[in-house]
Structures are given as C-alpha cells and as structure tokens.
Symmetry: C2
C-alpha cells in the first residue's frame, strides 16, 4: 500500500456510484487533511460501460469484469455499490476480502444475509468491512452504536428505517389521499422506486433491522424469520380512525431482547401521536437506541438517496484511510454468539382492528362474542354504518393480550357470517 495514495476499485456506477465519484473528487483535499491519505478511484466497473454519462471517466479506469477489481494489485479498497444479496455483489465482496482488500458496501441485502461470514473473513484477513451506508445513510447509526454508545447495554432499538413507506403513510394523512394516489406521486418524485415491493412489504426494513440488532446486542445476525408486515393493506380509513383516536400509523422496525431472547419485528404500528417517532414525517429515517446508562438516544436524518449514502460511504472510507481496522461488528467473530428467538406468539400488546361487516341486527353481539371467547377485552368500539350499501365498519381498540390470541381472534372473525373480508389488524406500540 502506497503511503499517501490509496487506490479504490468502484463497482457500480449508477445514481449513487456516480454521485459518490463526484463528491469524492471534490473532497479529496479535505480527506487528505483529515486522514493523511489521498483516496484515488483507480478503477470502475459498471453494467454498461459504453452508456453516455454526464461525468467523463478516463478510459483506463474502466474494468470490464467487476471481479477483476478484487484481484488487482494496485487496488486497496473495494467500494461495492452493485446491490443484491447474492450474485455479482456477493462474488465481488468475498473475492475482495479473500484478497485482503478493504471493503465498503452500501448493500443491506448482502450484509443481512452474508454479514457474519463476510465479517469473519475480514477479521481473519485483518481488513475493514464497513457498511454505514447500508442502514439509514444520513444517520451515522452504525458508527454510533459501535463507538459513541459503546458503553451502553442496549435494551431496545427501533425506528423508521424506510423512507419510502414513511413518505407514503405521512402523505396519506396530510393530503387525505389513498395509498395508490400517494404511491404514484412518490414514484414521480423519485421517493419510490419503479418496483417498490421490497420497501412496501417491509423486507427492506427487515434487512436493516437484522444488521442493527446484530451490532446492538453483539450477536450474530439472526437467521430467524422476522415478523414482517408491510403497509400495502393500510388504507386511508385506518389512518383517519387512528388519528381520531389519538394515534398515528407508522411502519416501525423493532428489535429487543426479552428474557435473553431476541424479538425482531417489522410491522405497521399505531403509536401515540405525541410520541417522538410519530413526528418523523416524509422520507426521514429515525432510530431510537434505548440503553443504559444513556437513556434514549435518537438519531434522525435522510435515509437514502445519493447525498446521504455518499456521506456514509466517505465516513467509512476515512475510517479505512486512518488505518483503524475494527471488528466489523464491534466485537470479534468468536464473541458473537447466537441468540435464540423470542416466540412472537407470546408478544404482548394492545391492538386496533377494523372489521367490515354486514349491517344487520345481531352483528355487534356476534362479533363481540368472538372477542370474549378469545379472552380479548375491548377498550374502545366505534360502529359506523354505511346506510347505502348496508355495510358497517366496526373499529375496535383492544386491551393488551398475546399475539397468539390475536391470531385466533382473526381466524374466528374471518369465519363469522357477518364479516365481509379479512379484518385489518394493527398492533399498538408503546414508544
């Protein structure tokens, strides 16, 4: 490794990659001042090299086969911006670490699936594996847990980890518009991808949550199936009922240790509208770390997009340039024990239900009987008839109960002759 010049192989040159390139060029001097090293993007690979681009890249920088980046003697650091949990990204990162290259990645899918193995390999080969950009780019959360909050015993970590869904939920409420209207607008504004399924169904958040809980609790990344529900079935009616009852609906990612077992979940929640997290609107991300002795520490910022992501990548880059080789997950691989899974069926909460029923005599008694049978007691009930079509909505806030009973409740409700479709069920979270 040259003393002053450090060479980077950049894989992926789309929206993020080209922005990172530009911002790195612009900040070279600053980075040199702060780290004593000059980062130099020596090679770039991209799916389509011949594509017309706004930035002019010298021909000698282009590398046709991405995997070659990891094999070049004059590359010290690989920045992986290809994406995807397997395929090229996985191949490249494994190869790079094997060849003792430092790796910086923004790839949450890769890290949440193969992070343990990759981290182990990095540790063995004494190189960095940095991934600040993989979770909430504009929020230095990974670094904060590993360093700023290092002394804390974290009990719970939760927050809004997906900007697209948060934009949709908060815009539905603010503009009084349907899910589809807002989704289409979000696509136009670039706040939602053309195919936003992994955002909407919660799996993007779940990947990020796996990474966060792993470093928060010093455990290996859970392979557990995480309770993952998206926002596709939230409709405006629910948002408005929630509002009238003093709540907001947010897609939260929550990880906590209960009785030495890990409970991870991603699902829409009703939360009190005066709570801190209820006030995070638009594309913002926010993470709350609840630890001892620190209490609640909150970080908030833009989650994605070229700016925040590049900012995170460069912070990782500076760590590498300063020669700070840390354990990728804060502690050595051998210290990262597995943690068993908290049985989600024992999760205890109150909940919101919207049940669409035929508006006929005896409905309410029939419905409330099902609640009683499942030992779930009702806190609030609103019945709204829709005279025109002889239907009615029953909105119920329950007292606290366990997930298992709620599951049974839903099974029984669906079978009831008055119930027109699967009820909407949203857990209430105390935050």
């Amino acid at each position: 490794m040259d003393y002053e010049n450090i060479n980077i192989g950049l894989a992926g040159f789309g929206n993020i990659g080209s922005y990172f390139y530009k911002i790195l060029e612009k900040n070279k001097k600053d980075i040199y001042i702060k780290t004593g090293k000059i980062p130099n993007i020596k090679y770039i690979s991209a799916r389509n090299i011949t594509k017309k681009r706004k930035i002019k890249i010298p021909r000698k920088k282009w590398v046709k086969n991405f995997i070659d980046l990891s094999k070049k003697d004059d590359v010290d650091i690989i920045v992986e911006l290809i994406g995807g949990s397997d395929g090229p990204a996985k191949k490249l990162v494994f190869s790079a670490l094997k060849n003792k290259k430092h790796v910086i990645t923004a790839n949450k899918a890769l890290m949440s699936k193969h992070g343990d193995e990759l981290g182990h390999l990095a540790e063995k080969n004494e190189v960095n594996l940095e991934y600040e950009a993989s979770v909430a780019g504009g929020v230095p959360i990974i670094r904060s847990i590993k360093e700023g909050l290092i002394a804390n015993k974290i009990n719970k970590i939760y927050g809004i980890l997906n900007g697209t869904t948060n934009y949709i939920l908060s815009s539905m409420e603010r503009k009084n518009k349907s899910f589809n209207e807002i989704l289409n607008k979000a696509k136009k504004l670039g706040f939602a991808e053309t195919n936003p399924i992994s955002d909407l169904n919660g799996s993007d958040s779940a990947s990020k949550l796996r990474i966060l809980s792993s470093i928060a609790f010093n455990k290996s990344i859970s392979k557990n199936k995480i309770l993952t529900e998206g926002i596709q079935n939230i409709n405006l009616t629910d948002i408005l009922y929630a509002k009238s009852l003093g709540y907001k609906i947010k897609l939260l990612s929550i990880s906590e240790v209960k009785k030495n077992k890990l409970m991870e979940r991603v699902h829409p929640c009703l939360i009190l509208k005066n709570s801190y997290i209820a006030k995070i609107d638009g594309v913002l991300n926010a993470v709350v770390v609840d630890g001892s002795p620190i209490g609640k520490s909150v970080l908030q910022g833009e989650g994605a997009g070229p700016g925040p992501t590049s900012s995170a990548i460069i912070s990782d880059l500076c760590t590498v340039l300063k020669g700070e080789v840390n354990y990728p997950f804060g502690v050595s691989f051998s210290e990262r024990k597995k943690i068993s899974k908290f049985d989600i069926l024992n999760h205890f909460c109150s909940s919101y239900l919207r049940i669409e029923v035929k508006d006929q005599p005896g409905v309410l008694s029939s419905i409330t009987k099902i609640f009683a049978k499942n030992k779930i007691s009702i806190k609030n009930l609103i019945q709204k008839p829709n005279k025109k079509n002889k239907k009615a909505s029953i909105i119920i806030i329950t007292h606290e109960n366990i997930e298992k009973n709620f599951n049974n409740l839903l099974l029984h409700l669906v079978k009831n002759k008055f119930v027109l479709k699967k009820p909407t069920f949203i857990r209430i979270e105390t935050v």
Copy 2:
C-alpha cells in the same frame, strides 16, 4: 504501557465520577471484548478523600494531590472530572498531556477556553485528548461530526445544548407557571443546580457552541465574544403570546458561516411550533447538523447527568484503548485556521417584541412611529389593555431587519414617555 491492563487516574469523585467508576467496573468485560484492553482505575483524587461514600474505594487508590495523577509512571490515561475553565482542572490536563498521558475530559469550560492549546499539545505528544462528554453527553455529537459526517461541508449547526433551560421553558408552557416556580421545582428535581446562573444566562451553551463550531468548521476555537442571552427575562406572558402566534420559545445555540465569516450566537428564539426543534421538550438536548451532501442530520438525547456523561466518557475511553490516536479537533493543529467574526449587527431576522406601556390616548401612534423611524415594518400587532392599572401590553411581530436597526429601535423605545420598562425582544429563527 502494559499490553492488556491500561491504568486510569481519575480526578474528581462527585456525582459523575463515582457513577463513572461504578459503570466502568460493571462493563470491564465488555470493554475488553470490544477493545482488547482492560481499563483499570488505578488512582483517584477528590476534594474530600475522607468523605463517607456509598462505594468502597481501597485506600491505596487515593491520591492526595490531584496533580500527582499526571506524574505517575503507572498511569496511562487521565479522566478529568474536576470542572472549571482554570484552576486545578487546567493544571492537571496540561501536566498530563505534557507527561504524555491520554486525557479524557467532560469539561466544556476548559475545552472552550484552552482547547486549542491543549489540542496542540496532545497532537505534539501523540496522545489523545477526548471530550465527547463536554457537549450533550447522551448525544454522540462530537464523534459524529468528526467521523460519521466527516465527508460533509457543514453550513450550520444549531440546537438545544442546555437541558436545564429547556426544561424550564417547556415546563412553563406546559404547566402555565412562572419562571421562578418552575426554576424552584427544577432545583428540587435535580434538573437545575443550586446555582444555575451559567445555565440560565446562556454561558454554558456558549462554551459548548464554541467547541462544536470549531470541529464543524475545522477552525480554531473562536475567542470572539459570542452574542449570549439567557432565559432569565422570558416570562410566561411571552410564552403564551408566542404560542397564540404559532411559535415556541427555545434557547438555541446557533453557529453558521456567512460569507466566510463565523456567526455564533446563543439566545432565546421564537421558532415555529411545528418545527422539529420546537418539539424537543424537557431536559433533552438536540443538535441539528445542516451539511452537504447529507442534508439535515439530527441527534437527540439526554444532555447531562451521570448516565449520559459516563456513557460519553467510556466511548472516549474505548477510542483510547483501541489505540486510535486522532487529531483532537479532527484535523491537525496547523490546518485549523482562524476565522473572522461575522458582524452580528448585520444579522438579519424578524423579531417579537412585548412593550409595556401606559394605556393613554396616542400611545399606539407614538410607538409605531418609532418603528417607522427605524425602518422596521410591523407584521402583526396585538394590543392588550389592562384596565385595572391603566397599562397595556403591545405585542409586535416585525418583518425582517438587521440587528443594528433593532438595537436602535430598542434604544428609542426605552426613551419613549409611554414605555414603562425595557421591552422584551426575542429574535425569530427559521429552523
């Protein structure tokens, strides 16, 4: 330096010091796992060694003269929790750095006054000078600026840096009680010190702001007189008027670079009640970093108290244990140029005024004439007569203007025959 055991000399064993001691003992194993080193508090000095304490300290740990801590061969790190910008704290820290001991301090007064010199000395002697606990303990803001946000060009950094004053202002509003009532309650609850003057008059915030702007803008610590106004003259009336006009009153610390000049100020502000920072209530601290490319990144948490402070000290300790010797202010001493001061008289904002006047004919015309003469135009005006005592309050929201004109306005208002006392003047800040 022993490979595994690292010895600490702890100066100051009050509230914070003893909590830090306890929490360090509890977390030793964790720290070893994360850093490969075992921190050991070898010596302690305190004002009163013989005082009865809850924690039992072995007699051999006590050192009578604090300065000796810095001279012992078997001390690697000094943790300074004495406090105060000069006197023993200053003496100890200078001596420690001279003797090539790493220093961790929670002392904002010391750092804001002597930080440049201390940082230079630490850099020369290749030891750490860490001070995360000096600003907003529960918020890893210093580390975040120096590392997580390292790639950003910061334009503005601002926030609530003092928990006591924030508690007082938000409680006055919530409980509809006077400044003095709330202050007394805060003292009882331990949210305000017995002598809270440096909190109330803004000087505590100003010290912290100097430290933050120095690392945010890579400049030496400003020796400028910072515009510093406290909350002593805010009364409940102002809070209620502000509320009725859609604002909240917060004591903000604001640092920004305008035309290559530094403007630092600490003063009460009217801010829109829907803004993020308006929602930070109670003893919380919050810092907003407005940078490019990251946008706004926000950190929020408890500012002071034994828990958050100890958490920050231990994060500093882990940095030292990992052997990461960084520049104390992010860049080398030689790169930290002075920055000239933005003339505060040119600061441009709108403002709130409450003017207590005699309720006589011609008052309003006389008052508004003064505004016109000083070229300050009025946006809103409320006049509230108090029939009983023939007085009236005139509440005015002005359009934007420069500080200089506001100063002149106030001078002229005070001289007016109808005006009963110095008007309350609060700047409106767009956050």
